[in-house]
């Protein structure tokens, strides 16, 4: 048994300190100039930014016209300097874009409706808010009543009735998306339960409804609501044109909500169902007390994503003649007083900003919620 060992007997000379592993320069080298291709891309991007950003800033802010009474006042020959975007178009129409033709003396009722809605949304979506169940009751029962009464008016309470054809602008966009979520979520939950039911006929009806609605574009559903629903009803009943569209939108999104909720139901382990049954809970008590609270919580991101889609798709009601936010902008663009070159650009940039702020905000919330839920799962 010979044991061989090697051992260094001389001490090595000291090595130079390693290259810096942190710092701005290293970050720049690794993230922007790590290869020839990367350097080219970086330089191209920087050039593109340089070519567009200062010009856009000049056009959108520095040279913009902020106040004017007609479109002509925004033209080069009348301003006497290079002109950018005519924001005056937006500022002078702001009331119309938000309230439509809702009488100005009654605008506070619309504001009340917005405030009541904001309260409900914060209550439901803020994870640490207390009394969640009361929040659900508030949002799905009390708030719709407050909203309905304050917007349509009631002679009993001394509120002048305002017909829905005076409603318009952002108010209608919010009304449609709110009605959409308030109706489509409960209906969607029922459809999702129906799709997973043991009863073959219930399952069949739910599957047909969901797959049919998801297979057709929203615009055809809106046409159906607009021209077919009135035919189904007795001659004397003339449903309000806004109501028809509301029903169409709600049913359309119920199918999408059902698919989102179904995902949550499938994610709940069988043991939960079995344990609830072993405790002697019936179907509805098992669902309401055990399954749905867990299932709905994990699909909050999907529900919010669906809601973003719903919010964006409310614009389609303009095609069947409802004056939503985008339609009021279109209508103002057609006004001869304001017709001038560059006006559509100003109007659509403003509309895009509004939609972007709302949708991106919701998307961020959904991502934040997803990350929050994910940490719980890792244990």
């Amino acid at each position: 048994m010979i044991q061989t060992r090697f051992m260094r007997e001389t001490i090595l000379p000291q090595e130079a300190a390693p290259h810096r592993t942190s710092g701005v320069l290293l970050w720049v080298r690794e993230n922007l100039f790590s290869s020839v291709m990367n350097s080219v891309l970086t330089l191209l991007s920087l050039w593109a930014l340089y070519a567009t950003i200062p010009g856009l800033f000049q056009y959108l802010i520095v040279d913009a016209v902020w106040s004017a009474n007609t479109g002509k006042e925004c033209l080069l020959e009348n301003v006497g300097r290079p002109v950018g975007v005519c924001w005056a178009f937006v500022t002078s129409h702001m009331g119309y874009f938000i309230y439509g033709q809702y009488p100005e003396a009654e605008w506070w009722r619309v504001d009340l409706f917005f405030a009541a809605e904001a309260l409900g949304i914060v209550w439901l979506l803020w994870p640490n808010a207390p009394y969640k169940f009361a929040g659900i009751i508030y949002f799905f029962v009390i708030f719709p009543i407050i909203g309905f009464v304050s917007l349509t008016g009631s002679t009993m309470l001394g509120l002048t009735p305002v017909a829905t054809n005076f409603w318009g602008g952002f108010l209608v966009t919010i009304v449609i998306s709110t009605f959409g979520i308030v109706v489509s979520l409960p209906v969607g939950v029922l459809l999702a339960l129906g799709r997973r039911s043991d009863m073959p006929i219930v399952r069949l009806v739910s599957v047909i409804f969901i797959e049919f609605v998801r297979g057709v574009p929203l615009i055809t559903v809106l046409f159906m609501a607009n021209v077919m629903f009135p035919l189904f009803l007795p001659d004397g009943w003339r449903p309000d044109s806004l109501l028809r569209v509301l029903v169409g939108v709600a049913f359309f999104f119920a199918a999408y909500m059902a698919e989102a909720v179904r995902g949550g139901l499938q994610a709940i382990p069988r043991g939960q169902y079995e344990a609830a049954q072993a405790l002697g809970l019936g179907y509805w008590r098992m669902m309401i007390k055990i399954i749905l609270p867990q299932a709905l919580k994990i699909v909050i991101p999907n529900i919010v994503n669906n809601f973003i889609g719903l919010f964006k798709d409310t614009t389609l009601v303009a095609i069947v003649g409802i004056f939503d936010f985008l339609k009021t902008i279109q209508a103002s663009l057609a006004d001869p007083v304001w017709r001038a070159a560059g006006m559509p650009f100003a109007a659509y940039i403003f509309a895009s900003l509004v939609f972007f702020v709302f949708c991106y905000g919701m998307a961020r919330y959904s991502m934040w919620m997803e990350a929050r839920l994910d940490t719980g799962k890792r244990h």
């Binding site: 993230n31 922007l32 790590s34 990367n38 891309l41 970086t42 991007s45 920087l46 593109a48 930014l49 043991d198 009863m199 073959p200 006929i201 219930v202 009806v205 049919f212 998801r214 297979g215 057709v216 574009p217 615009i219 055809t220 046409f223 159906m224 021209v227 077919m228 009135p230 035919l231 189904f232 009803l233 007795p234 001659d235 973003i308 964006k312 798709d313 614009t315 389609l316 303009a318 095609i319 985008l326 279109q330 663009l333 070159a341 560059g342 559509p344 650009f345 109007a347 659509y348 509309a351 895009s352 939609f355 972007f356 949708c359 991106y360 998307a363």
Partner: protein
Amino acid sequence: MSSQISGSHATAKVVFYNDPKFRSRFAQFLLLVAIGLFAYFAYENTSENLRKRNIAQGFGFWDVEAGFDISQTLIAYSAASSYGRAFWVGLLNTLLVSLVSIFFATILGFIIGILRLSRNWIVSRLAGIYIEVFRNIPLLLILYFWYGAVLGALPEPRDSLAIPGDIWLNNRGLLVPRPLITGDILYTVAALGIGIIGAYILARFARRRQAETGERLPVGWISTVLILGLPLLVYLGVGTPLGFDFPEKGRFNLTGGLNLAPEFVAMVVGLSTYTSAFIAETIRAGVLAVSKGQTEASQALGLSRGQTLRLVVVPQALRVIVPPLNSEYLSLTKNSSLGVSIGYPDLVNVFTGTVLNQTGQAIEMVSVTMLVYLTFSLLTSAFMNWFNKRVALVER
């Protein structure tokens, strides 16, 4: 003894309304009755309403003269054609705008998705901004923007903007060279077919050969030569049977070429930019779904970066990408129905719009239109099922 116990257990009967079997049957019965009542109610009211308003029923209108013009037609159509013909014109316009938009949306989406994955911070951020902007703005607004704010602000034909490749842009749309068949093109098409079949057979042969001997053939190069080179040879051999009619700029107007209407251009640009943002996210999610271990393992096996991508990452990413990509294509097709908002003569515009207004037969028009889209969606899900079965992981 035991039978007696189970017997006594069975006889301990619950009241019939507490029996789950009875309850389930009763609930389903109620549901059927409710649906039946609603259908009866709707049917009665509808026939009553239609009779009162003197609206015809059924598909008798199909062969009646339409009497209106359509701005873009792929098949011969005039105001003297029938409503049925108008249906096909609308359907073909829907398919045309969908296919062209799918083509551009896929290319744009792939590029943006790959840029989003880039290790270059600034490039990835810019791609991210593009994705977030287009995902969070309604499609209708994007269409209005391209149609009203961009195409509407373009100059008159006499001041048309020139784009390299003999393309002109003005407020009447986009003028592109019109391909003209001047000779016999059939041989070239046949050569292309032979090339594709040959490449397919070669790929199969090469795969079997690799499985048996471990040797690889340069399939990529040979296929390229077969698919591109063979038709090119034939094309040149029979004397270049394809020509172009280039648009020419006169003093006030442009003549010749193929004029694409501004509505069509706005639809293609709008649908492509909007959908490309969603496709880019799909691509990103698919590539990120391939675990890092796969890349590391293939590097450990000595595969080059290109080989790692081509042989390991992409095949696995495609498995994740294709299903959502398909639903993006389907929703693009459904979204093409927004053509009605800017006046593009798609199916919804022609059929649920003009034809419905002229005949008043709401039920027939809306049902036919819905049926068409349902068919698209059924075909898509059939394809998806087939694909999923084909690529599903075969695990032990």
